[in-house]
């Protein structure tokens, strides 16, 4: 099958790859670009751990055809930190013990970033809503909700 040339912005950098028709964005990111931060959980939209931002909007990369991001901006967790400095959300996740096995963490952070980018002072209910497409097996969600609220209030609030 003929491959299609695809160009888009990956965490602010221009990338160009060749994809087979039907390749999903998660596979393109992990296998063709080598960005392992979006995880494969279910491959069918049920778990949220593959979440990425496309032009600032949250999308499930396992359900997104790679070709649809041509010319657009894709942000993953790989681009969230500033050099060696953790993003405030990452700091807050660490401080609030919001990760155990860590498998859901990339999706949770991405969902939280999408929320805070458009609503810097969310209520608890808005945080719950924002992460409700993401499954976590370990934490019971409470520490994750607390971490997002703490990051929103500048890291001052303690769980």
């Amino acid at each position: 099958m003929a491959k299609t040339a695809l160009q888009f912005q990956h965490n602010g950098r221009d990338v160009a790859i060749f994809v087979d028709g039907g390749t999903n964005l998660l596979v393109a990111l992990r296998e063709l670009i080598g960005d392992m931060t979006p995880k494969f959980g279910c491959g069918q939209g049920g778990c949220g751990t593959c979440s990425v931002l496309i032009d600032g909007e949250i999308h499930l990369s396992c359900l997104t055809l790679a070709e649809t991001v041509a010319g657009r901006s894709v942000e993953t967790l790989d681009g969230i930190k500033d050099g060696p400095n953790l993003h405030p959300l990452q700091r807050a996740f660490a401080d609030n013990f919001a990760a155990q096995c860590g498998y859901c963490t990339p999706g949770m952070l991405t969902a939280a970033k999408a929320l805070l980018d458009r609503n810097p002072q969310p209520s608890r209910a808005e945080v719950v809503e924002a992460i409700s497409g993401n499954i976590c097996r370990c934490t019971g969600y409470e520490p994750i909700i607390n971490a997002v609220l703490a990051a929103a209030s500048g890291g001052r609030a303690r769980a």
């Binding site: 069918q44 155990q100 809503e129 969600y141 409470e142 520490p143």
Partner: protein, 340 residues
């Protein structure tokens, strides 16, 4: 349609690790020429914090800063045998093995330091900051790094230790059949408050209040993390998760996260936790284990709360809306029990 509130309570007596004796785990500890230490385990940290807690136990036993200890886990090619991460056994079993290994390594480290300082090893102590000095004479001191270098390159000693923890077999009394199946018990008590909708059979968690007694909490934030997440898992087992949800045939079982249900962030409830510490005589620094027991009391407490709310006794998990509704119908309507 009415929503009925109910409250249920359950208590747990939880034996740590596998019962009836045995249940071994091993650890190896060695120093590197940098004066840092490596703990080799094949035990697995799934996110519960086994790496952190064994690191603390090793550092505390050796008398060195926690930053100077590295824990290498989860590889049975490079680490000594472990029965596994289950039954709340990690902190207790693996921790004890690490403690034994670190104690042996500390013995060699003190001997090597004594040789360098030309004193008796029994007169030395560690300051917990990476130095070893003569008791009462802190200026007669050597860093653990210099000891490690001297042991390796001059004295020809390996600063290392081996540890295993094995629970003694309990004999059965031939007369009475009595035995002690476990050596270490943790305890918990949990009150669950639920709201049951008598038209849909749905059960909503309102709140949980619990007390967990788990020996010394070696890392209080990790313990809290275990209790919060574990209780959520208990709710999930009580009300949601099953491989055979609605039909007797496994082929009708869930295939994905859309059908295999778990409570989401919107389904959780406030949970007030009290941690009680009664150090275990045979635990590392008195620790028991906060693992599996976090989830256990939730299931009976929720079942009791549902009985209290609508008078139906469901003894088949998970307690799905369908089961609650059928039971309410069978008894001709909700029968709220006296509030407790």
């Amino acid at each position: 349609m009415t929503r009925h509130r109910g409250r249920g309570i359950a208590s747990v007596n939880y034996p740590i690790g596998m019962n009836l004796g045995g249940d071994p785990s091993q650890a190896l500890v060695h120093s590197n020429p940098s004066g840092k230490f490596t703990v080799a385990l094949s035990s697995i940290d799934l996110g519960q914090g086994m790496k952190s807690v064994t690191r603390q136990i090793c550092a505390e036993t050796l008398g060195v800063p926690v930053e100077d200890v590295y824990v290498d886990t989860a590889d049975s090619d490079t680490g000594p045998h472990c029965m596994g991460s289950f039954a709340s056994r990690g902190t207790h079993r693996v921790g004890n093995a690490v403690m034994a290994a670190a104690r042996e390594a500390r013995g060699v480290m003190m001997e090597a330091a004594a040789e360098e300082l030309e004193v008796n090893a029994a007169d030395l102590e560690t300051d917990g900051r990476g130095n070893i000095h003569v008791r009462g004479a802190p200026h007669r001191s050597i860093s653990t790094k210099d000891v490690a270098i001297a042991a390796q390159f001059k004295q020809g000693k390996t600063i290392s230790g081996r540890g295993i923890f094995l629970v003694p077999l309990s004999d059965v009394d031939p007369e009475t059949g009595e035995m002690s199946p476990a050596t270490c018990y943790a305890h918990a008590c949990l009150v669950a408050e639920v709201e049951v909708d008598d038209e849909t059979g749905e059960v909503a968690m309102i709140r949980m209040d619990s007390a967990y007694e788990l020996g010394r909490a070696l890392n209080p934030r990790l313990v809290e993390q275990q209790l919060v997440g574990g209780a959520w898992m208990g709710v999930s087992h009580a009300l949601y998760e099953t491989p055979e949800p609605y039909y007797p045939e496994p082929v009708h079982g869930p295939r994905d996260f859309v059908e295999y249900l778990m409570p989401g962030p919107g389904d959780i409830c406030p949970h007030d936790i009290a941690v009680l510490e009664r150090p275990a005589p045979d635990g590392p620094f008195g620790a028991k284990g906060p693992g599996e027991m976090c989830a256990n009391p939730v299931l009976p407490a929720v079942a009791n709360a549902i009985f209290n709310a609508v008078g139906v006794r469901i003894d088949d998990l998970p307690i799905t809306p369908e089961k609650v509704l059928r039971a309410i119908k069978a008894q001709g309507g909700a029968r709220p029990q006296p509030r407790r």
